[in-house]
Symmetry: none
Subunit: 360 residues, 2 copies
Amino acid sequence: MQELPVNRIIQGDCVSIMEGLPAGSVDMIFADPPYNLQLRGELKRPNESVVDAVDDDWDRFESMEAYDAFTRAWLTAAQRLLKDSGTLWVIGSYHNIYRIGAVLQDLGFWILNDVVWRKANPMPNFRGRRLTNAHETLIWCAKAEDAKNYTFNYEALKALNDDLQMRSDWLLPICSGGERLKVNGRKAHSTQKPESLLYRVMLTATRDGDIVLDPFFGTGTTGAVAKRLGRRFIGVEREDKFCRLAQARIGRVRTLPPEDRVITPPKRQQTRVPFGMIVERGLIEPGTHLHDYQRRHTARVRADGSLVCADATGSIHKIGAHVQGAPSCNGWTYWHVDVEGRLAPIDIFREQVRSELGGL
Amino acid sequence: MQELPVNRIIQGDCVSIMEGLPAGSVDMIFADPPYNLQLRGELKRPNESVVDAVDDDWDRFESMEAYDAFTRAWLTAAQRLLKDSGTLWVIGSYHNIYRIGAVLQDLGFWILNDVVWRKANPMPNFRGRRLTNAHETLIWCAKAEDAKNYTFNYEALKALNDDLQMRSDWLLPICSGGERLKVNGRKAHSTQKPESLLYRVMLTATRDGDIVLDPFFGTGTTGAVAKRLGRRFIGVEREDKFCRLAQARIGRVRTLPPEDRVITPPKRQQTRVPFGMIVERGLIEPGTHLHDYQRRHTARVRADGSLVCADATGSIHKIGAHVQGAPSCNGWTYWHVDVEGRLAPIDIFREQVRSELGGL
DNA sequence: TGCCTAAATGAATCACGTG
DNA sequence: TCACGTGATTCATTTAGGC
């Protein structure tokens, strides 16, 4: 069997390079392909600054058909490369992930899970025309329907999650700060992924020493995390500048000693429960009247969780402050509901919801 | 124009029934199509009890091609039914959502967001071979790329989320307890959705009195929430037993009084008040001087509502932009009048006029 | 050095009505 | 259909800068 170019970055087109490697030789493939964003004009923040959007050549496609053909080509090559026990991960957004999911099902890949990366700090929607696009989607799949012997480190992920089964929604920050590669003070790559994401992916679906291939290597996050966790990597990247950047980056990474390749579970933070959730779930009906504990002030709850008091409307906190003439107010403890003649602070409903959510 | 069968459940095949309704007549479509689950054999819990999984006739398809054809058929009929300003919501899991997303993009629907419903209490993965499947995906899309005038209640959703922009990941419980319809002690429908999910969907993308169609009505969650929120519904359901179940359920629902359905109104939808009207009504006299909040710039009001600043004249917006050297400016919030030594934004006069006009 | 405030920034399919 | 004017719009973090 041909020797695999392990722990190396290969420059060139990923399809032809994958076709030149021996079939059935790779344990996992992680792919972060172009998203085909199709951005129109420039976007400004409310303060008039311009958003530094993705406008790279590698994200331009003639048409959706061209994108689908590109997707089919690299997924076909990837499928051939995988061991029968191997799995593939692809990450994307709503612009491209439905194309990719459909094509990989057509090719016979078998989806094991889709995973939602919930961004802790996403870019807001500046024009107020849509929801904040706060997540990206990963598809995790086996080579075929009958490939049952894939690696899934159930116990490790459970340990990572406070001894609860790991769910399909992962809350992780975006890549920023010191981790973000810069060239001349500007971001080196427009779509660098956080190492924590790759860390969790590899902890989920690879074993020590496994071979992980990334056909869209970019700045080499896959390689950096693979090296740190004692996995072997093969990076394929078209652009020379990224190859050199990734090479230098990975050179700086140190492999953890085997006994340290387990991390302590992240601290669970208290779930934020907006007042609207209390209304939405019917614990307080729209139209209910709220009172302060002395019944000096009364406000009415609307369908979207805002309050009305005389001619003022706003959040429980804003209206609480308003009626008191105070600069601020904790609406959760200020406002009460009348339960059979007795006043109960609305905070009890928040506690109820929190206990039902169980720390999510 | 043909009369729409509003607030009714129509029994039959959703494609032929939608084809019989007038084109361009519906504000929103919410669809929860069969998931094409492809379960192999029965699933047992660790204690050997059998999981009551989805194995209904309506969820069986001969092949992926048959599912795609079915998807294309109902989405085509749905697109025809929508008003140009209407939006479509589809919910699915990884088994079917990639097929649906690809088909709807092929048909020209324009994705606005995909939304992740994070289940607060999902079913665990009993075999420990995958991640807990803890979410489902909703795709929200407009009828076409150029349909920009869809309803999005940005301010209401912000209110619902404690004055922060609503994100694309929604944490909501599954449908259980008293909300879950039962027949002879067993769940009446295998995939009943929680009312809180529909509540948020309708709060996001419909206005009072809008017409909401659901081609896979099932137990009628869409109809129940529509009735409660003062929206009109059209339910299409193939099975007689579900039609009757939904009919009875919706009969028990009470519509919220109009004053409780009110949500924080979109600013863009408010009556446009030109600055000239402020001058015309004597709220600001011609000759008055306006200042920015730091008193760095001053402009004089003329009789027609235009401003003069040095040698430049124009609207409050143009002159505001001009003095700042900015490309654009909201003059309503930029310019202030001096009221006994304190600066007040001219927007307060607009609000005064608006309240006097009474929403005309 | 340390603390507080201001500025910068991230995979973004980001107006609309009137004439 | 097009041109133009009005006017609506941001969250979590990190980094830089002032004192």
